[in-house]
Amino acid sequence: MLFFDLLVQGLLQGGIYALIAIGLTLVYGLLRILHVAHAGLYTLGGYIAILITNATGSFTLGITVSMVSVGFMGMVIYRLIYQPILEKPPFVALIASIGLFIAMEEIYRIVFGAYGITFADAPLQGTLNIAGIYLRHCEIGALLLAALLITSLSLFTRYSRIGIAWRATVTDPGMSQSFGVDVIKVRYLNFFIGSAMAAGAGSMVAVMNNLVEPTMGSVPSYKALAIIVLGGLGNVRGTVIAALIIGVAEAFGTIYLGNILDRDSIAFALLILVLMVKPTGLFSKG
């Protein structure tokens, strides 16, 4: 019983991680940039969800607006920050992204206050009892959302023209360009989808915690990096699996290893172990 309870909790956390990490691995796969500021978009997603929901009373509207607007924000970040420095050595983009992330956290603090914001009337707080495991509606919602978005992404890249063009561009930009694929459009799409998914995660977490704070993204900022490396940089399927593994490892680890390692270390210990055996991560790019 406890085992299943912990397992479900782990998968839930893993699902959230997956939604965030996918955007990160998409960007890396396409541009080889470690987009740390991505976590800032996750936080922004949470803020917008609460603000819109409090203003209109509808969480559905809140999360939708959040995902769309943050998707656009992601595209803006690409255009303003990353596009100018694509030719530079990799640490340039990394430091710029870190600087941007710090700035974003500060802007949230200055604009929305250091205490964070809450829902006026938090939605989806009811609980469901499934075989002795209590899950709140928002937690079930998060699981469903993660499953929905990840499946949609998978179908999209496999069966739609744009999706296929996108995959091709990630695999070989030069070749796909010669086939007439607009590489720039693909990049924008890439950032839009990744950022929107992060916003979705942020919105669900906002409901789960009934709190969005400026520093909400600080843990995902580095943890998502560990996840995408574990999954194999650039490999979406690998990232999802890695996210779930880390989620479950943390769930069991915090209970049983709590006196030896703290939570973050569990993810990284796992990562280092795997990398020593398989230096390119669980799955390689592709």
């Binding site: 470690l34 600087g99 941007l100 490396v229 703290d262 990398l275």
Partner: protein, 288 residues
């Protein structure tokens, strides 16, 4: 004068930390996102030893040794993984180190270690020591850069595979870079511990690693004087900007971002271009 002395001491220690990372990142091209952990190793080693009665000099030497040894072990990981993987592995090492230290009561755990003994040099004496060590490290770095080892580092940083082909034992050089860089980081950590006289795991976290890395990058990776200046300025950046207290972190983040966008080779790049512009003008003016 006390205030100025305390600021200069902090500057000196930060310069040592940044120059030590410069050896790894700047000279040998290996990205390390967990450097603060090695400062931590040095700090904790020195703190524990001096509290147990070991004299200051011996404790500091031991800190450097400890940090260097652990650094070499981590250096081995750099042999397995490359570039971006390495960056994140080093980040992981940083977190792992802290995660373990947090849980060990004999290392102070969450409470940290307080009442670290004073080395007995007085404030001015300590400052002189720190500045001397910083200057020594700077000179050493410059010497290294111009030596055959420096050239080898350059080759490894530029293109590992080719360096291998040419017969350079890339692995050994990477390890040497890590060993040196982390040993000096240990030195910086020990000096920090005896300066602030209180250490806790939080002081050596990911944020700290990023701060040191940004000093190296803003100075211009590889450039000794660039990194020195950047470290000196950025380390007391919060104190400069007390008047815009509320916005200083925002300014810092924005600055990092802007510098990367407009001058990724940092201060040394800016200065280099500036020199070229002057030379260019002189060139034309003399008509040659």
């Amino acid at each position: 004068m006390q205030y100025e002395i305390s600021l200069l001491t902090i500057m000196g220690i930060s310069i040592i930390a940044a120059l030590s990372l410069n050896l790894i990142v700047g000279f040998c091209g290996q990205i390390s996102l967990g450097h603060a952990a090695f400062l931590g190793v040095g700090a904790y080693t020195s703190a524990m030893l001096t509290k147990a009665g070991v004299p200051f000099t011996a404790a500091v030497a031991a800190s450097m040794l400890m940090a260097g040894i652990i650094g070499t072990v981590v250096g081995f990981t750099s042999l397995r993984v490359r570039e971006d993987f390495l960056a994140i592995t080093t980040m992981g090492v940083g977190f792992l180190f802290l995660g373990i230290v947090r849980k060990q009561d004999f290392l102070g755990g969450e409470m940290g270690i307080a009442m670290i003994p004073d080395p007995g040099l007085g404030k001015v004496g300590y400052l002189v020591l720190v500045l001397l060590l910083a200057a020594t490290l700077a000179l050493f770095s410059i010497y290294l850069k111009r030596s055959w080892m420096g050239f080898t580092f350059d080759a490894v940083a530029d293109d590992e595979d080719t360096a291998n082909l040419v017969g350079i034992d890339v692995s050994s050089y990477k390890l040497i870079a890590f060993a040196m860089g982390t040993a000096f980081a240990g030195l910086a950590g020990a000096l920090y511990a005896h300066n602030i006289k209180f250490i806790d795991p939080e002081s050596f976290g990911f944020v700290e690693s990023i701060t040191i890395l940004s000093m190296v990058v803003i100075g211009g990776t590889g450039s000794v004087w660039g990194v020195t200046i950047a470290a000196g300025v950025l380390s007391i950046f919060p104190m400069w900007f007390q008047f815009i207290d509320d916005y200083k972190l925002l300014v810092y983040g924005g600055l990092l971002c802007m510098i990367m966008l407009f001058s990724p080779d940092g201060l040394s790049g800016i200065f280099g271009r500036f020199l070229n512009t002057i030379r260019g003008k002189n060139f034309n003016a003399s008509g040659q």
